[in-house]
Amino acid sequence: MDDRDLELLRTFRADEAVEPPGLAARVEEDLWQLVLAEEASRARRPAAGAGQRRWRGSLLRPLAAAGAAAVLAGVVAVASDGGSSGNANVVGGPAREASAGLLDGAASRLFGRDGGSTTATTGIPSGKIDVTEPDAGDAALVDGPALDDGSLDASSRDLVDELPRDPTTLLATVRAAATAVDGSDPADRAAFAAAMRWVVQPAVPTDLRAAMLRSVAGMAGLDAATTGVDVLGRTGLVVSHFDSLTGLREQWVLDPERGTLLERRAFTTTYADPTTCPPGTFTEHVVLDDDGHRVDPEAVPYLDWPEVLGACDTRPLP
């Protein structure tokens, strides 16, 4: 059998195959709507018993135990202890409003209603604030030139003073900075991480921390802000972001009194490419103790999972 038929077929209607420019965005939007609908549906189910909702010291266990069912949206429900946020488990459209309300309340409680700065300046004209290390504490106030990569990660003190405190305006600034570094950021993944780095940094003026936390409420992919517990069982504010492009969920657990970082975790969900790593695989995981120092990975089960995966770590959870 000669191959003339196949050769002709390969050219048949070939120009139809060119992808239209808006298709990627449409697919992403359709998927995002489905994710929100699924999470809203999940949230409407009867609440689990109190014993099931308190994952003291074993927060990660349900990820593996429940497998694919747990990791997409369930993690948000797992992280919640149904505490003061009331309807914080509700996600989707109403959830966004609830989350925004919680973030606004947390910003006021943590950093003051009027956002007055309580951080003394160092008086270093050329100094900068470096927020790249979550355990830097006051050491984030350092001398030296600011980064010139367009990011806000290590910004001059002057720029910090100039950053807008209006959340909407600040959101635009953060997005612009994130895009300058990462290029396209349609799901606000980079912007979310950038803003949260500022929120948890005690060396940053509190009015700016509050504005950053409020700006997060307007980001794409914010799928929940709720109260929950971290891997060590400490109760905190859980701010969760879902990147529908990669299927990665990133969660920051904040100290409820100081707004500092307790835990940051990023992991694959069932929406991530299933041929790459199984759902529930951690890609990043940082835990700080009450003094703001990194917890020894050996002391926390599975904290030693690879921070950046070259290969999947598929060890089963206990």
């Binding site: 000669d2 298709l23 697919v27 694919a68 199984p278």
Partner: protein, 175 residues
């Protein structure tokens, strides 16, 4: 690279060539949302999600089988514009392709749906017999027999068109 980015372009291309770009956009998006909804069924032992996605897309395409055949018969009557063929094709190949369009469209319209699915996955996407079998949920041996049958019918139409160039237009592609 995320699943959607890795497969969207190829999937859309396949669908657009079968049912047109407008419908292909709808089915592409629907394929990914269904894949998301059915994600627990995906066998993670497999190292490629493409057959799985093509299987979902094929099921969606079957709802539009009549539209596809209607379009193919229209090509049989009127041919397709020259731009339909690869600009990089050599002039002889290009002329051959243009002149054979009605015969090709008639042949595709004449195929059973299952035979057409197997043939186009093979011809357009270079999918292996095993991947086509996974996508269509049939044994590999059935893929082989469907491909043989489909290619024989296409070649018969092409041979008939070579012998009588006006035949397809006269019969409107009907056997």
């Amino acid at each position: 690279m995320p699943l959607v980015d890795r497969h969207r372009r190829v999937l859309f291309g396949y669908l657009a060539r079968r049912v047109g770009r407008d419908l292909a956009e709808d089915i592409t998006s629907e394929t990914f949302t269904r894949a998301f909804a059915q994600r627990r069924r995906f066998d993670q032992e497999r190292d490629d999600a493409r057959p799985w996605l093509f299987g979902i897309a094929t099921n969606l395409l079957r709802n539009n089988a009549r539209s596809e055949v209607r379009q193919l018969r229209a090509y049989t009557r009127h041919g397709v514009e020259d731009r339909t063929f690869d600009d990089h094709a050599g002039s002889d190949a290009r002329l051959d392709a243009v002149s054979q369009t009605p015969a090709l469209a008639a042949a595709l319209a004449a195929l059973k749906a299952g035979d057409r699915e197997a043939l186009l996955m093979f011809a357009w996407n270079d999918m292996s017999y095993e991947d086509i079998a996974l996508a269509l949920d049939i044994p590999v041996g059935t893929v082989r027999s469907r491909l043989n049958r489909a290619r024989r019918i296409v070649q018969e139409h092409l041979a008939a068109a070579d012998a009588d160039p006006d035949r397809e237009e006269a019969t409107h592609g009907r056997p």
